[in-house]
Amino acid sequence: MTAITDESARLEAIRRYDVLDTPPDGSFDRITALAAEIFDVPIALVTIVDHERIWFKSKHGLDGVDQIDRDPGLCASAVLQDQPYIVEEARTDPRTLANPLVAGKFGLQFYAAAPLRTATGHRLGTLCIIDREPRMFSPRQADVLQRLSEIVVDELELRLSALNAIRTAGEHQAQPPSR
C-alpha cells in the first residue's frame, strides 16, 4: 500500500483511533520503558502528532509534560517519512537546531523516532527516544526501534478493533453513535 500523505486524511485517521487525551495505558508504558532500556536512553515516548500539537500517549523519563507544540524538526518531521528519523547531534543538525526543545532549556541533543504507521498507511505519531547528550545510532538500532513502533501500532489497532466492536454492538442496539 502506498503511503497516504494527505494531512487531513491523517488527522481523520487519528480521530478514528480515538486515542488523543486518553488516560495512560500500561501496554504503551511497557513499550517505552523497554525502548529506554534497550537503547540506554533517559526518555522514550509514544507521541501522536495532532493538528497543532504533539500529544504524548506514553512518556518514560519525562514528568509534568503531556504535549508540546507542533514545531518542525522532531516528531512533526518524523511523521513525514516511513523510515526511522534519526538526529545524532541535534544542536548542529540543520533539521533540529532551531527547535525549542533543542535550543531551549530542555537541551535535547539526540532524537530517534520510528513512525507509527497504520495498516492503512497513515503515520499517526512516533515511538521516539531522546537523550540530552549526542549519541551515535546505528541502522540495526533503528531497525529495532522500527519493530518496537510496529508493536505500538499493533496495540493501537487492537484498541481500534475493540472500539469498532463496541460501536458495532451499539449500532445493533440502535443507539446513536458516540461521536
Binding site: 537503547f39 540506554d40 547528550e133 549519541r135 551515535m136 545510532f137 546505528s138 541502522p139 540495526r140 538500532q141
Partner: protein, 520 residues
Amino acid sequence: MGQRVVDALTAQLSPHGVTPIEPSDWRLVDEASRTVFDAPELARTVRSVVDVFVPAYAHAALVALLDDRDELRIAATAHRARDRAGVSSAAVGRRLERHDAPFAAAPGHRVEEFPLERDGKDFGLLLLLVPDEGTPRGEALLRTIAARCALALDNARRFERERNVALTFENAALVSEMPAIAGYRFDAMYRAGRLDALVGGDWYDAFPLGDGRVVVSIGDVVGSGLSAAVTMLNVRQTIRGVAQVNPDPAMMLYAADGTLRSQFPDRFVTAFVGVLDPVTQICSYANAGHPPPLLRLADGSLQQPAGHNAPLGLGLQQHIDVHHVTLPVGSLFVLYTDGLTESTKDVFEGEARLEAAVRDVESGAGVARRIHDAVLRGHSRDDVAVLAVSVQHTPPARRWRFDPRWPDVARRVRDQLRAELEDAQICATRMHDAELAFAELLGNALRYAPGTVEMILVRQDANLVLHVLDKGPGFQFSPRLPSDLYSEFGRGLFLISQLVSDFSVERRPGGGSHARILLT
C-alpha cells in the same frame, strides 16, 4: 731567649713580621675598618677598600679577586685625580695581568702588593701604588689596614655567595611557567612577606600531566624565613612526584604529610591539591586545612567548594577525602593563601574583600595580581600566593557517545577513530596498538559496564589522548601501582598498559570509570 719570645709575639701581632703600628694610629685603623665593614655587599665593599687607601695612603689602588676559574679579576680601582698612574675603572671585570702595565710603569712610584687571604687561603690581591719615598704613615699601618680590608672583603664574598645560593634556591622554588592548555588560562602571583626574600613558606603550583590533566596546588608552611621555604619546596616537590605516579589528590597530601612527619616534624602545613581534567571539566580535590577556593560561575555567582581535612604535619592519622567540583566554561577558579585575607587583621573583612574582588575582577592575563591588589590595597607583611584558573572553552576534541552492545555502531566508531588517528599521522605500529587498546577497553565496557560509553579523542600539541568513560561500577587502575587483583582480573588492563605510552583508569565521581590512554 727573651728576645726570641718578643720576636714571636711581635710576629703574631703583626703577621708580616713588621713592627707594630704606633698606638696613635689605631684611630686610623678603626676609621678604615668602619668604612670597609659598612655594607655587606661585595660591590660596595671593594669600592670602600680602594677609597680607604686613595688618596690618604696611596696614589692608586686596585683590588682583584679570584674568580671561579682561579683567575684574578679586577674588582675595583681608584687613583688620585691628578695622577694618570693606576688602572682606570674601565678595567673592572677584566683579568688582572701579572704586571698590569699602567700600574707598574708609573715613574717615581712603587707597587705594594698585599695578598688577600683568609685562613691561609688567598682569595685576591690588593695593589697599592705608593711614591718611592714611601707612604706618609708607614708600612705597618698600611699592612694592618690591608688585613682589615681582607677580612671585610672575605665577609662580603661569603655574604654574596650565600645570597647567590638563596637566589638560586628561590628561583628554583618559584614556579615560572604556567601550563598551556587550550581553553584554559592559568594565572598566578606570589609575593614573599619579607622584603629581603623572594620566597617564603607559601607556594602555588600548576603543571600538566602527560594525559592532559593539570595538577594545581597551593599551600602554606606555617612559619617564615628560608627554613620555611626549604620545607615548602620539599612538600611541593613531594606533591609533584606523587602526581606523576598516581594523580590522586588524597595520595599527594598523604605523601606530603609523610614528608613532614619524617623530615620536618616541627612544621605544619595547609594545602589544597586539585587535579583538573579539561575534558570532563571536573576538578578532583583534597584540602588539608587550607582556605577553600572560590569559584565564580559564568553568571557571576560565587561558590566555595566545600570539604576539608585537618592541616598536614599534626601527626594525625586522618583519612583525607577527595571531593569534586565542576569548572564550567566561563568560570574562574581562585586559589589563595591566607596572607591574602588575614593581613587586614580582620579575617571577616578580608574574606568580604576577597569575595568582592573575585566577583568584580576582570578575568584574563594578570587576574591573580588584580585580585591581590584589590584585596590588599598595598599593605601586607605576609607571604601571599594567588592562583587563578579561567575556563574559556572546552579543548577541541572528537567525541563519540554510543552503546557498544550494538556491533555496527561500535564498528562505525572504530572506523572514525582510525580516520582521526590517520589524520594525526600516527605511525602504523601505534595505530595497531591503539586499535588493540580500543578493542580491549570496549570489551571491558561490554562485560563490566554494559550501556552507553563515551569516547573522547583529544589532541594537545603532539599528544593524542583517548578517553573512555563508562557507567559501570567503576574501578581504579594505574600501571605503576600494585594492581587490585580483583578489579584487574580478566580485564586485559596490563595488556593495554604495555601497548600505549600511558594508561590509567579512575572512578568517576558519579559512578563508572574513566580510562585515559596516551597514544603518542
